[in-house]
């Protein structure tokens, strides 16, 4: 694991030596996120988002555990207990708004993290396993977020649960049986609420477990970098601590600032007003929409409008799940020898179109189903699938990438016009470099 020049953990205090001989936990942390992990020296701020996602998960778990102490898992009292948290629990409003907006922040961070991976080819060999585990985390996050949104038992909670579990009834023959089995009844009610709460509490810890695998798999080849060339030697890396802990510190500060602006000054902006109306099975809201982070996928679901061999609803459900599952095949769909989109101008153009495409899908997912919106949804959904499954394989096989730098150090110095270092990039090296 890691590079031969990685620093070794040397406990100094006697108690740390004692601990290291018996349970080398500090050694594990040192090698994982301490000075023992050499990281490419040229990472940009997009490489902050992995750490930020971890921070977001911790915030969700801490606020969630305290909220669970005050929450009542009962269809008759769930809504009231959430309002009691808002009014009568000490700092309850803070905990609930932090948890609700924290979910949105988590998704903003993870979507940026995924985009980073797409742009810089982080899914490519030898990091396929890191990417696959990342997609697993993303799926677990979506399940957790959906079930969490049901818990306040407002109108959107109830009808969202109704619509999303309804997907399973699209499966031929056994669909309805599966739906009833999942819900524990014919419609969302006490049984569904209880199991959603149980799973909503469980899944974040499963996510934490998969994150450990994600980081473990990352540490085998080491982090990727924006130059698109692998680490060649010691001069290409710096120890994670203090170099990237310092850089991640800035990212964390900015992340918390954005989070605070939503939490304290617009806590309900990302939610839906209907969820402040208690769940009512007899009154259907005018527009049932999921949380903003599901809107692109909701648009894909709604875009299939004709029965062709299969019913339209089944096409929609297949496409919606397919739109995420296809990410599992990305490392094998992209055959280009170049890693980053910077060296693949044609691919970069299509990738930027994809980004705009997904944003439009997000808009369509939340907008009313007028004729124009359905048309836009169908075109953008088609591009989504064509991009990953047709355009990407063709472009990656035919495009000749631009030449890549020989090494990270060369790429760094070319940009800055400096001289090549003799051995080490870090302070105290034989040829110390001038300060920036």
């Amino acid at each position: 694991m890691s590079f031969p020049w990685a620093k070794h953990y040397e406990p100094k205090a006697p108690v740390m030596k004692w601990l290291d001989d018996r349970l080398p936990l500090p050694r594990l942390v040192y090698n994982a996120v301490g000075a023992g992990y050499p990281v490419p020296r040229n990472l940009n701020y997009f490489w902050n988002f992995g750490v930020l996602a971890g921070a977001a998960l911790v915030i969700q778990i801490v606020t969630g555990i305290v909220l669970a102490m005050h929450y009542s898992t009962d269809a008759n009292t769930a809504f009231d207990s959430v309002e009691a948290i808002m009014r009568d629990v000490n700092a309850g409003w803070f905990l609930r708004y932090a948890h609700a907006n924290g979910a949105s922040m988590f998704f903003i961070v993870v979507y940026t993290h995924i985009c980073r991976g797409l742009y810089y080819g982080s899914y490519k060999a030898p990091r396929e396993m890191v990417w696959l585990l990342g997609v697993v985390i993303f799926l677990l996050m979506m399940a957790t977020a959906f079930m969490g949104y049901v818990l306040p038992w407002g109108q959107m909670s109830f009808w969202g649960a109704q619509v999303i579990t309804g997907f399973f009834s699209a499966i031929p023959v056994v669909g309805e049986t599966i739906r009833v089995w999942l819900l524990g009844g014919y419609a969302p009610d006490a049984a569904a609420l209880n199991r959603f709460f149980s799973l909503h509490y469980l899944l974040p810890f499963v996510i934490a477990g998969v994150i450990i695998l994600h980081i473990w798999a990352l540490h085998i080849p080491g982090s990727s970098n924006p130059a698109g060339v692998e680490v060649k030697g010691e001069q290409d890396t710096v120890p994670f601590h203090p170099y990237y802990t310092a850089k991640d510190g800035i990212g964390l500060g900015v992340f918390l600032l954005v989070f605070a602006l939503f939490l304290f000054f617009a806590p309900n902006m990302l939610g839906h007003p209907d969820n402040y109306i208690p769940a009512n099975p007899l009154s259907t809201p005018a527009h049932i929409v999921p949380e903003w982070y599901f809107l692109p996928f909701y648009a894909i679901l709604k875009s299939f409008t004709v029965d062709f061999i299969l019913p339209a609803k089944l096409w929609g459900v297949l496409a919606m799940f397919g739109s995420i599952l296809l990410l599992f095949f990305l490392p094998w769909l992209d055959t280009s020898p170049a890693r980053t989109a910077n060296h693949r101008p044609r691919y970069r153009m299509f990738l930027i179109i994809l980004l705009v495409d997904v944003l439009i899908l997000g808009y369509v997912g939340g907008a009313e189903a007028s004729k124009t919106n359905v048309l836009i949804g169908q075109i953008t959904t088609a591009y989504y699938f064509l991009h990953f499954l047709v355009i990407l394989p063709i472009v990656s096989a035919t495009e000749r990438p631009k030449p890549v730098a020989n090494s990270i150090t060369e790429a760094v110095l070319k940009g800055k016009g400096g001289t090549a270092p003799a051995k080490s990039a870090i302070e105290g090296s034989p040829n110390p470099m001038p300060a920036e």
């Binding site: 500060g253 005018a286 296809l326 064509l386 499954l389 047709v390 760094v412 990039a425 470099m433 300060a435």
Partner: protein, 277 residues
Amino acid sequence: MTRIIAPLIGLGFAFVLVLGLFGTITTASEPATAEHEFHLAPKPLELASNGVFGKFDKQQLQRGFQVYKEVCSACHSIHRVAFRDLADLGYNEGQVKAIAQQWTTEQPSTNPETGEPATRKNLPSDKFPKVYANDTAARAANNNAIPPDLSLMTKARPNGAAYVHSLLTGYGESPAEVQKEFPKFTTPDGLYFNRYFPTLNLAMPPPLASDGQVTYADGTKSTVDQMAKDVTAFLVWTAEPKLEARHTAGLASVIFLLIFIGLTIGAYKSVWRNVKH
């Protein structure tokens, strides 16, 4: 294998979508509806609690509470709010006790001697009582409509505060253009035309009918618009009683985080000073 099957799946989805596209193009657009054409977005509303530095205007909240008490509370409850919470509006302990004591609707309880259902006077620790015993009673008394609880109203509608104010001041005759464009559109008996309500016809009769309906203790002139504004401000408070604490904590957090970011930038520059990257 992946590279053979994947394009086929991609083209398959695209083909079905193109079929759908033709279907969408050939279907006629939904005919426009009166609701779609004539529904209005709420008028912008300035309240003391708006904005990053927003604080409640306690004088206005007291006036709003008076409007709620004398007008709205005949049909609408605010049962997530307790009488003790009124201390936030600037009432002292004795005043809160008196308000609870004198509240017209009493708390459900049991007769201590017979065990039969009964009612008792409200205490400061009680939540505001529900006006109707159940939904059936509410429908029976209100032409088959249920007056919603107002505790969360300004958060339960898009742009809620502005919506409440616009709705309260937005009653009127349906304009001639509505009839001209949509001859089938009518306002049935027992409903009232209001362009700020999504379906344009609302079961609630205009609650604030004339200026001076409420006589304010602080001498403020009680125009319909003033009463609507005041009761809206009050309902912003019932929906978000911790708003001031949130704004204060928010400002402190932002200042803290700006300092934190400044320190991390300093640490970053110091750590990286000898490394090109």
